[in-house]
Structures are given as C-alpha cells and as structure tokens.
C-alpha cells in the first residue's frame, strides 16, 4: 500500500508524522542530555517541529526537558525529533555527566560537591 499523498495537508501532529525517522539515538537521550546546534543547516526532510527546535537552539544549549518545555512538546516527541537532527549532524548531544557511566549510581564525590555547592549558596 502506497503512503505517498504529497499534496495533502498533514492532519496529524507533526511528531506523529515523524514515522520512519525513528533512530536508536533517541534511547540515549536522557531528560538532562544537553542539545547543542552544530551550525549545520536544516535539510529538506526536516519537519516544522524540527525547524523550530533548530531555531530555539541557535541561541545556545538546553536540556531535552527544557527544549520540550519551550517547544510545548511531550518529552517523548522531543526525543524523537532531536534524535534525527543528531543523526543528521544538525545537533550534538552532550551527556549530563561526562565522566560517569550512565547507569552508575552517583559517586560519593559528586554528592559531596552537590552538598558543598548548596552550602555555598546560603
């Protein structure tokens, strides 16, 4: 069954129309992964939600949660759209804790730094 309906206006939210763009990259995008624009321009296959994302991130980096909030997208949809932009080289993903294994429990040193950083705010 052909799914080509080129002239029809899209009647579903754009993030649902992202079918076929699924990429394993989205599974590595945590809520605190930062998204940063690389400067590579958008490509013709990018959908409006992705163009808005690139525009938002022109000004600087934001976490996945913040990107979703500013774009008014559910986080799952935001991940999906960002993953393709990462795969296409338009965005770069930066992990929240560069030196830690993603599944590891927080290290005592990190927790101590959080504590002293909070105490220093008083």
């Amino acid at each position: 069954m052909s799914r080509r309906e080129p002239a029809r206006r899209r009647m579903v939210p754009s993030y649902l129309a992202a079918q076929g763009t699924e990429s394993p990259t989205r599974h590595s995008l945590q809520s605190l992964t930062a998204l940063r624009a690389t400067g590579l321009p958008a490509q013709p296959h990018h959908i409006p939600g992705q163009l808005r994302m690139l525009t938002l991130l022109e000004g600087g980096a934001l976490s996945v949660s913040e990107t979703a909030a500013y774009l008014d997208l559910p986080v799952s949809a935001c991940r999906l759209l960002a993953a393709q932009l990462i795969d296409d080289g338009c965005l770069r993903a930066e992990v929240p804790l560069p030196d830690a294994h993603p599944a590891a429990r927080p290290s005592p040193d990190l927790l101590k730094e959080v504590l002293s950083g909070l105490l220093a705010l008083k």
């Binding site: 605190l32 008014d72 730094e113 909070l118 008083k122």
Partner: protein, 212 residues
C-alpha cells in the same frame, strides 16, 4: 502545535515568571544532575521549585496512556484513556562548582507510575514534601521512591493553619526509618527550602558511604 514558545501562561500567576526567553545553559563545560521534589497534589512542589529555581519554572506535558480500569472509573468506559500530566521543573547553578542542579516536581500518585521511570532515571535522590493535615497522602510517594531504590528526605511544608506536631510524633506517624532526615520547611522561603535540600544532600552523601 503552532503556538509560540512564549504562549504558555496557564497555571502560572501573571507575574514575571513566564517562560518567554530561553535561559540557555552555560557555554562552558558543566555537569547536570537532578533531584526529585515529590509529593501529593497541592503540597507545594511547584512553590518549592519556584523559590529555588534561577529560571522561570517550566513544565513539560507528559502524555500518559493507561488502562482506565481501577482508576477513575466511568460507567461503560473501560478502554484506555490518555491523561496529560504537567511536570514542573526548574534549575539552579551550585556555587563554587560546575554543577547545575535540576529540580523536578513529581506527582505522588501510583497511577502516574509510567512517568516515574523517566523522571526518576538518573536522579540523585528525592525530597518528599508532606503536610501535617494529610500525612497519609505522602505514604504512596514514599513507597514509589523506595521501589525505585532512591534515597530521600522528608520536608514537612509548613502551612499556617496546619496542626503543629512534635517532630518525633511526626516521624512515627510517617513510619520513617531512623536514618531518614526530616525537616520542617516553608516552601516560600529560599533559606528554608535550601536547608531542606542540604539535609537531603548530606543524607545522600552518608548513604553513598561518604562523610559529609
């Protein structure tokens, strides 16, 4: 879709705290961590986050599909329902370090369980807000947190018309383990809210085997 990023005003007072201009992350390298601020509806989670956050409080709308059976039952409606749950969050940069701490307001009801997997992943720990007028509401939250293996501290948010209990009485009412810290806090006050986070952090350090 189609709304501009600055058009989401719902639920927020008409003050300056609107998510208009994005507050970007530092360009320099930094680390990002998160703590959950958990509790039943109306307990003051958003107030707590707004008090400490250096950016206007943001929210994501999480779409959750759930089987309606058992939950708010409606006659003849037993199919899946979708619920939209707003998750409030904010962030603050810690002093003399490169750490940016995110605070995620996390709803305490078990029916929001699907949201927990995502929000709790990678969290350092949780601060449970409790209200002396309805302590029972906090049990469900503490269960959810313990099931996820997260360490937590309890902050009793002070409401002026709430009964004042002796802390030991509160501890036994909440059935807290001896090592779980409990503090009284006023979510509207920065110093008081900061103290609650400090109590949690000190607890997390000792649970991880370090000395604060």
């Amino acid at each position: 879709m189609g709304s501009s990023p600055s058009s989401r005003l719902d639920g927020l007072p008409s003050s300056a705290a609107l998510p208009g201009t994005p507050v970007y992350l530092p360009d320099s390298s930094h680390r990002r961590v998160k703590v959950l601020v958990a509790g039943p509806l109306g307990i003051g989670k958003t107030t707590f986050i707004r008090t400490l956050s250096e950016i206007p409080t943001l929210h994501t709308d999480e779409v959750m599909t759930e089987a309606a059976a058992g939950a708010d039952s409606l006659d003849g409606l037993r199919d899946k329902t979708t619920t939209t749950v707003a998750i409030d969050f904010g962030r603050l940069s810690l002093a003399r370090t490169d750490i940016v701490l995110y605070l995620y307001g996390t709803p305490g009801q078990r029916r929001f369980l699907p949201l927990w997997e995502d929000i709790a992943a990678g969290a350092l720990g949780a601060l449970v807000l409790a209200d002396t007028r309805r302590l029972d509401d906090s049990f469900e939250v503490m269960d959810l947190i313990e099931e996820r293996g997260l360490d937590y501290a309890v902050a009793v948010n002070h409401f002026s018309d709430a009964p004042v209990y002796d802390l030991e009485v509160l501890r036994s009412k909440l059935d807290l383990a001896d090592e779980t810290p409990m503090v009284v806090c006023d979510a509207r006050d920065r110093g008081s809210s900061l103290d609650a986070l400090i109590a949690l952090s000190a607890h997390l350090v000792s649970r991880a085997g370090g000395t604060p």
